[in-house]
């Protein structure tokens, strides 16, 4: 049989019978068994490094904080951590509040955020950061993709220039924007102060720092949007444009009636990926400003963790994942509405 010849080729120099046995054993597995065998390494590493920690964190989130005593974690308290966080009861124990001060009354828009807590509590900070940065990244990324979709001399180098910010390490991105907005160094801060946009210390003022962190994020990740949208643009059938030209459609009409509808699903996918990333923001805040100035959800998990409030930190981490899951479902629901792939 041909297989036997090949087996000898596979084990040259008369390797031990174990190899031959192993190869033969693999050959005789069914397709399903073979599939599961090849997935063993994946399952092992994801199991130990991803799924086990998640389960362990979840278990921790059901326990009380133990600030005193030998044990790092307290007794089982059920969903108390979650309830306390969501009702704002736990705010006082944290470095920054989790929920903003909310009040409901008959006046539009019915739900009111107490003054001053908007840019100081984790939920609103994360949502504001996500909405504003993803909005601008989509528009700028779309523009960059349209530029890169054209044929022109030097396109290769323009592409490198547009991709590079995306490849810059987060810590260096942070350093760049720290050096751009540190008062006294550059030319950017003073004019912005004169027009009243920035306070005298932008890097420790919550609103100013939020703006700087958003600008830094847009600078780095618009390229990511651009690359995904570019992929969508390049899959558009070029003959559609020829037909449109013959029919006398203007550039704008071609864009509105052909390009945009075809790539809308791609744009939504790109926005989805970016939204997941933006809602986990941590590094750029820690390097440009600080977690107490712009307290995002990930920031709050880390600061609460370092306060040794393990139960609360775990609960915040899971609430973050829950919030991301809710946003992801909204996208998927919208995506199906648009008749995406």
């Amino acid at each position: 049989m041909a297989t036997d010849t090949q087996l000898r080729d596979d084990a040259p120099g008369g390797k031990s019978g174990i190899t031959v046995h192993a190869v033969r054993w693999v050959e005789n597995l069914s397709e399903t068994q073979f599939a599961y065998l090849l997935l063993v390494p994946t399952v092992l590493i994801l199991g130990v490094i991803a799924f086990w920690p998640l389960l362990s964190t979840f278990e921790m989130s059901l326990r009380a904080d133990a600030l005193i005593g030998a044990k790092p974690i307290g007794e089982y308290v059920g969903i108390k951590n979650y309830v306390d966080l969501l009702t704002g009861k736990r705010n006082a124990a944290l470095t920054r509040p989790f929920m903003p001060g909310l009040s409901v009354d008959g006046q539009f828009p019915f739900l009111h955020v107490a003054g001053g807590t908007l840019f100081k509590s984790a939920i609103t900070v994360t949502l504001i950061f996500t909405i504003v940065s993803v909005f601008f990244e989509t528009i700028i990324g779309f523009g960059q993709a349209l530029v890169l979709d054209q044929d022109f001399r030097g396109r290769r180098w323009v592409r490198v220039a547009i991709i590079i910010p995306w490849a810059v390490p987060v810590v260096i991105q942070g350093m760049i924007f720290f050096l751009l907005f540190q008062p006294g160094i550059g030319f950017l801060v003073e004019p912005l102060q004169q027009i009243g946009l920035f306070s005298s210390t932008p890097l420790i003022n919550s609103v100013d720092s939020m703006i700087i962190v958003i600008v830094a994020d847009i600078w780095k990740t618009s390229a990511f949007m651009a690359l995904i949208i570019l992929a969508g643009l390049q899959s558009v059938d070029r003959s559609l444009y020829d037909v449109a030209k013959v029919a006398g459609a203007s550039k704008w009409q071609q864009f509105k009636l052909i390009t945009f509808p075809i790539i809308l699903p791609t744009i939504l996918v790109a926005m989805l990926f970016r939204t997941i990333g933006a809602m986990r923001v941590f590094g750029i805040i820690e390097t440009v400003s600080s977690c107490s100035t712009v307290p995002s959800l990930s920031c709050l998990v880390v600061t609460t963790f370092s306060q040794r409030r393990y139960g609360t930190a775990a609960a915040i981490a899971f609430l973050t994942a829950l919030l991301i899951a809710i946003v992801v479902s909204v996208y998927i629901w919208k995506f199906n509405d648009e008749g995406g792939v």
Binding site: A2, T3, Q6, L7, E27, E31, A35, L38, L39, P41, T42, I45, L46, I49, A50, F51, L54, T57, G143, Q150, F152, V158, R159, A161, I162, I163, I164, P165, A167, V168, P169, V170, V171, I172, M175, I176, L179, L180, Q182, G184, I185, W219, F224, L227, L230, A231, V269, F273, R280, F282, L297, S298, V301, V302, F305, A313, A317, T320, A321, I324
Partner: protein
């Protein structure tokens, strides 16, 4: 393009003629707008790097109220006392920054190898085999990306510092070894590579694999000698993206290392190397040397260089990888 673009070097009337022409032929106006937009994107993406270079070569005591031009360019010509290229040597003397960069490169390389081997097997399974549980398994792998890295941190930290009991034995202490970062990085970036390779492997015609099998090649032989070589572009893409992602990573790099590196490069593989990556190197300038803005800028330039070189070489791979990974999901 067939139409000529307006030449800006011509005189006033020519400019008016060009404007007239642009009104008659919208193609010219369109070209002009295109070049303006391209120039805008180039300036906004590249300006921060220019700013780093300006700050780096300016002596630190002269860094105050900087203009857009570097200070050594004065009204009376070049002032060499305000031009300090030696900063690119000093930067390695105050903090052993080269060791941090080298640590990062080694960590990125280790992660890339591990991810490629594991993702090759998984990508083959998801791309070419049909078996019960395929869909749910892929969804489960995708769901990992919903969780903030912070959700993994607490248990992993305890695991790596030897505080978790496994069957009565405490876990090995791997904090301050490369593994305390390489393992989380691998788990974190594995899903992306699996999705990229699944698409690439799925595109190879079944006939090629069947032919190899009929020739008598074993299953694994067909995978390693036929499928993987044929999808080399996909493997390269996944490798480049993983490498860049690890080099850029902040969260675990920041929290899973103690910031220590050996002063001397000869101790690179010795116990003194706590494998702190570039994150800790850059932050090292923020503490002790917080007022040395020129050093911070110079270190940032040095830290960016490896990825810039990689992007220039591998730009096509990056584009094709994001295409494959994002759209076929």
């Amino acid at each position: 393009m067939g139409t000529a673009t307006p030449d800006e070097s011509e005189r006033e009337p020519a400019y008016e003629r060009a404007a007239q022409k642009a009104i008659r032929d919208p193609e010219i106006a369109y070209r002009f707008a295109f070049y303006m937009v391209t120039a805008f994107f180039l300036v906004t993406t590249l300006f921060p790097f220019y700013w780093l270079l300006v700050l780096a070569v300016t002596p630190n005591d002269a860094i105050a109220n900087m203009g857009i031009l570097p200070k050594f360019i004065t009204a009376n010509g070049i002032d060499p006392s305000l031009f300090n290229p030696e900063v690119f040597l000093t930067v390695f003397e105050v903090v052993p920054f080269h060791t941090y960069v080298l640590n990062s490169l080694v960590l990125a390389l280790m992660t890339t190898v591990i991810v490629l081997v594991i993702a090759s097997l998984a990508g083959y399974v998801f791309g070419r085999l049909t078996f019960p549980g395929r869909g749910p398994l892929m969804l489960l792998i995708l769901a990992i990306s919903y969780f903030p890295p912070a959700a993994f941190l607490l248990p992993l930290f305890r695991l790596f510092t030897g505080n978790v009991d496994i069957f009565g034995l405490s876990s090995p202490t791997i904090f301050n070894t490369p593994w305390s970062m390489v393992l989380p990085f691998s788990a974190l970036f594995l899903p992306l590579s699996i999705f990229i390779l699944t698409t690439f492997y799925g595109q190879i015609p079944d006939g090629l694999e069947d032919a190899a099998r009929i020739e008598g090649t074993t299953r694994l032989g067909a995978l390693f000698r036929v499928i993987i070589p044929l999808s080399a572009p996909g493997v390269a893409t996944a490798g480049v993206l993983t490498f860049i992602s690890v080099y850029n990573e902040f969260f675990f790099s920041f929290l899973m290392s103690d910031g220590q590196v050996p002063r001397l490069l000869t101790n690179f593989f010795a116990n003194q190397n706590h494998w702190s990556p570039i994150v800790k190197g850059i932050l090292g300038y923020q503490g002790q040397y917080a007022q040395f803005y020129n050093l911070m800028a110079a270190a940032s330039i040095v830290g960016v260089l490896p990825v810039v070189i990689l992007v220039v070489i591998a730009q096509e791979k990056i584009v094709s990888g994001l295409t494959a990974g994002a759209l076929k999901e």
